[in-house]
């Protein structure tokens, strides 16, 4: 719950609902990577707190098969550079939580 509070505080501190599209896109990742980008004890990884440049590089590597993947290549190909950059910024700001 702590993470929700911090997240909400972040949102309130910026202009209300700013960058909401990035958040909506990021929410689409949660089915696998967890609510707020944290999934515990899973073959799938948490992506909260991932550095933005690592996130962007990873998505580019998935796109051009530099990194082999299952679904992630298709997802990365469906997203524009701007969308990836906005999501990278969003996830970087999320607290990593206590990894378990």
């Amino acid at each position: 719950m702590k993470k929700v509070m911090i997240l909400s505080a972040l949102l309130l501190s910026s202009s209300a609902f700013a960058d909401e599209r990035a958040e909506i896109m990021a929410n689409n990742c949660a089915g696998c990577h967890g609510t707020d980008g944290i999934v515990e004890n899973s073959a799938l990884i948490s992506i909260a707190g991932l550095k933005a440049d690592v996130f962007i590089q990873t998505m580019q590597d998935f796109r051009n098969n530099e990194r082999a993947s299952t679904i992630m290549r298709n997802v990365a190909l469906a997203l524009s550079d701007d969308e990836i950059a906005a999501m990278a910024k969003y996830f970087e700001a999320l607290p990593t939580g206590e990894e378990k």
């Binding site: 719950m1 702590k2 929700v4 509070m5 997240l7 909400s8 505080a9 309130l12 209300a16 609902f17 909401e20 599209r21 958040e23 909506i24 896109m25 929410n27 689409n28 990742c29 949660a30 089915g31 696998c32 990577h33 967890g34 609510t35 999934v39 899973s42 073959a43 799938l44 082999a68 299952t70 679904i71 290549r73 298709n74 997802v75 190909l77 469906a78 997203l79 969308e83």
Partner: protein, 444 residues
């Protein structure tokens, strides 16, 4: 009614979110009522409370325990038990402060914005969200009925006693017997589902009933991730891929000399089912009569019954909605999510319902606050599917609004047919991991 300050102090005991400033919301808490505590309803309630912590959210759900449909075919092979499908509402209640009323909605007064329930309670709402899932139209297969599905030829498409019955029938089927799966016409819940079910049962038979057979008879000529399934069946169960599907198939596809364990009869080859004969345990199709030891009919579907009762459906039985807010095009202030809604290019899947629910939650938070929702939302769908326990693949797509319709963004949508063995193995690992991560995102 308790005062706002009382609510805050009360809620603070449960949830840190509730102590946040209320923003632009009025002192009288907005009320949202959600009918249906499945994937769509639960995800919606959770994400609305996260986004707008001082909105009062009540889920009206008939069953105290949710039985998840995704992954439920794994019960048929004994990979999981029925109890493994159970999900409760404790976290939604205790951590997110969502009220969950185990009750049944029976009436809608759209003018006064009130929902009436079987227990005699009236729920007032500012926004009503209906997430009723599907209703199975048993009678659309002549000779079939709900009663026969419960006793003789289960559908098992909404998990429950029919799932256990089907599992028991498969287990006790005679050696060398035939299981017939009748696939439904589009649109229906879980597009890869009938074919995954057939594959998992064929895999089970390899161990327990090696002379058994699975036949899938189908009104359609193609199906979701069809080529991936046909390839997997060829590799695992001796299925021979029809010529018209051979484009882009990898080199290891072989022509099996003896018939395999699994067969698929598309509509053009007479697969369309016409009548079910319970006494003779056979299904008459356009191509002829198929007799079987176990018959699993997945009937045509429409939106869950409550959506029909409330007048939210169109002539085809599905609910037309605004694609930004999921507000019904039939009744104002009522929104419809998930399988029941018409979401254009999106399939009727749990993942789709989950991402629709989040978009709707944010939109409704804005509407309640008196401002404008994000006009270009994004959705996603990912369905992992299995051709065998260690043989996975997927469909995946990102969606956006184009000309007011939900459209798939340009990208490959399937696992490459040339995927390596490692990729197939890992897709199967991720399929299992997803069962857990997805359930957590919806219900915890």
């Amino acid at each position: 009614m308790i005062s706002r300050r009382e609510f805050l102090s009360l809620a603070a005991a449960f949830s840190a979110t509730a102590v946040l400033p209320a923003g632009s919301f009025a002192a009288n808490k907005a009320k949202v009522v959600v009918i249906g505590g499945g994937v769509g309803g639960a995800t919606f309630a959770k994400y609305l409370r996260r986004k707008a912590p001082d909105v009062d959210v009540t889920i009206i759900e008939q069953n105290p325990i949710y039985i998840r449909p995704y992954g439920s075919s794994e019960v048929l092979t004994g990979h999981v038990n029925m109890s493994d499908l159970e999900v409760n509402y404790d976290v939604l209640r205790n951590q997110y402060g969502i009220k969950v009323a185990i009750d049944r909605a029976i009436g809608l007064d759209a003018d006064r914005k009130i929902i009436k329930t079987a227990s005699g309670t009236d729920y007032a709402y500012d926004r009503l969200v209906v997430s009723p899932g599907i209703e199975l139209n048993y009678e659309r297969v002549e000779g079939y009925s709900k009663e026969l599905a419960e006793t003789k030829a289960p559908s098992g498409w909404i998990p429950g006693s029919q799932t256990s019955l089907l599992r028991d029938q498969i287990k006790t089927m005679r050696q060398g017997g035939t299981m017939l799966i009748v696939a439904p016409p589009n649109p229906y819940r879980c597009p890869p589902g009938p074919y995954e079910r057939g594959a998992l049962i064929a895999e089970w038979m390899q161990k327990h009933n090696p002379t058994g057979k699975v036949i899938i008879t189908d009104p359609k000529d193609k199906f979701t991730a069809g080529n991936n399934f046909l390839l997997g069946w060829n590799r695992l169960y001796g299925y021979n891929i029809p010529m018209e599907f051979m484009d882009d198939m990898p080199d290891d596809v072989v022509e099996h000399s003896t018939p395999g364990m699994i067969d698929w009869i598309p509509g053009k080859d007479g697969g369309t089912p016409l009548t079910f004969d319970a006494a003779n345990m056979s299904v008459k199709t356009e191509g002829g009569n198929i007799k079987a030891d176990v018959i699993n009919i997945v009937p045509p579907m429409k939106a869950g019954k409550i959506a029909q009762q409330f007048g939210l459906t169109n002539e085809q039985g599905w609910c037309p909605v605004n694609r930004v807010t999921f507000e019904s095009q039939k009744i104002a202030n009522v929104h419809v999510l998930g399988d029941a809604s018409i979401a254009d290019a999106m399939p009727k899947s749990g993942f789709a319902a989950n991402t629709q629910a989040k978009v709707a939650a944010y939109a409704i938070a804005h509407l309640l606050a008196g401002d404008t929702p994000e006009q270009s939302p994004a959705f996603e769908n990912t369905c992992y599917a299995l051709a065998g326990s260690d043989y996975g693949f997927f469909v995946s797509a990102v969606y956006e609004l184009r000309d007011g319709k939900i459209s798939k963004k340009e990208a490959p949508g399937l696992q490459d047919l040339k995927a390596t063995e490692a990729q197939r193995r890992l897709s199967a690992v991720y399929q299992q991991a997803w069962m857990k991560s997805f359930t957590e995102d919806c219900f915890a």
